[in-house]
Symmetry: C5
Subunit: 106 residues, 5 copies
Amino acid sequence: MFVCTVVGQVWSTQKDATLEGLRLLVVRPYTRGGDASAETMVAVDPIGAGTGERVLVVTGRAARHAIGRGQDIGFQTAIVGIVDGMELENGERVGQVAAMDRPGAS
Amino acid sequence: MFVCTVVGQVWSTQKDATLEGLRLLVVRPYTRGGDASAETMVAVDPIGAGTGERVLVVTGRAARHAIGRGQDIGFQTAIVGIVDGMELENGERVGQVAAMDRPGAS
Amino acid sequence: MFVCTVVGQVWSTQKDATLEGLRLLVVRPYTRGGDASAETMVAVDPIGAGTGERVLVVTGRAARHAIGRGQDIGFQTAIVGIVDGMELENGERVGQVAAMDRPGAS
Amino acid sequence: MFVCTVVGQVWSTQKDATLEGLRLLVVRPYTRGGDASAETMVAVDPIGAGTGERVLVVTGRAARHAIGRGQDIGFQTAIVGIVDGMELENGERVGQVAAMDRPGAS
Amino acid sequence: MFVCTVVGQVWSTQKDATLEGLRLLVVRPYTRGGDASAETMVAVDPIGAGTGERVLVVTGRAARHAIGRGQDIGFQTAIVGIVDGMELENGERVGQVAAMDRPGAS
């Protein structure tokens, strides 16, 4: 699982039938010090994340679970959470770290 | 799942029997700013993508699903969509972003 | 499996239901000579590791096992151990290498 | 799946019993412009590839299928084809691209 | 599967119960020309490899097979063989390449 930043969106008309109606976001893994990687992935978004938001991204079986269309689908990457806050040892803080005290947040 | 660009084709006569009749394309993952990675993969193409086209590429179980020959095959990478358009936070646009408004595109 | 260092924590309220109540730590893989990688991952922590501790991190099925919520969950990375000590050929020693002689340690 | 070049061979006497009698080749992934990666993998070769040949390499379930000893084996990488020819957008051609027109090649 | 060099050992007392009694080695993937990667992994060693030895390392299902504790374990990387010899196209030879002629070696 990775923290990624949503950096864009992709559209495709001619595609595997199991992808119909899914929102496809371009995400970029978070790297130390916010020095964004050049690497990108495409993740199905069942949650409704926006460009610039930090998200939790999984691949493989966990992603198929999150999409909720069974295991027999043409997809392997999904967003499973929107990051409220992140606190790092170097003092770097992202978002609302106060979210830490919010009931239900973990 | 990755956005890749089709950069070539591969032919093989002496191969695992489960690969007979499949089209094998060489693809290169999209990286930030279009600065193409040096890495390449080979993906089975059940859709009919052409050289230079942007495509959606999956691996593992999702790829076996897309190929439609069951799970017991000697293959693990497949093209599952052709990208109509991609819009990135840095203003970069690829292809027809108007595809966003087309019915059935997602 | 990787030795990683815990470098922070992430909070998310809006997330896949199977992630409720899990502690999400940001970890960074150990690289040669302690020259920390820029790459980070997010791992569920069922053990209670603290920032700065060295931990053992797994992904995929092994991670789902460690979390103990079955295989049908939106998660793929977990901490499975806290490193007592590590001894490397270059003479580098981390933590209590004497842990080597402790019963139950392996 | 990757196009790799066979760069050597490995021998092991003390090994998992499921590896007995398998040919273990060292392969290196093809990267853009033929600038060979420093990374290497070891792949079981059920086909009989020679040093310097370009081959198709898979990992995971696809590799276990190709080896033909069931899913319960201590192995995860295999050669599934020998590349006859490869044609890239930059005009680079490897091997017999005329193989494209050969019956049975795909 | 990778050729790796054993570069150290890790000890952990507080760990997933399925890891009890397993030997945990730090290994580093072999890269071209012996220019060792900075990346390291931790592999369970059911064979008894020593520091400085070249070994064959697998991950995922193959690793769980090699460990022999079933598929439901908190582990994903294992050593499946000790390398007797390796011969590369650049003339590089490691260990006893004569092992090639030894019965049972492959």
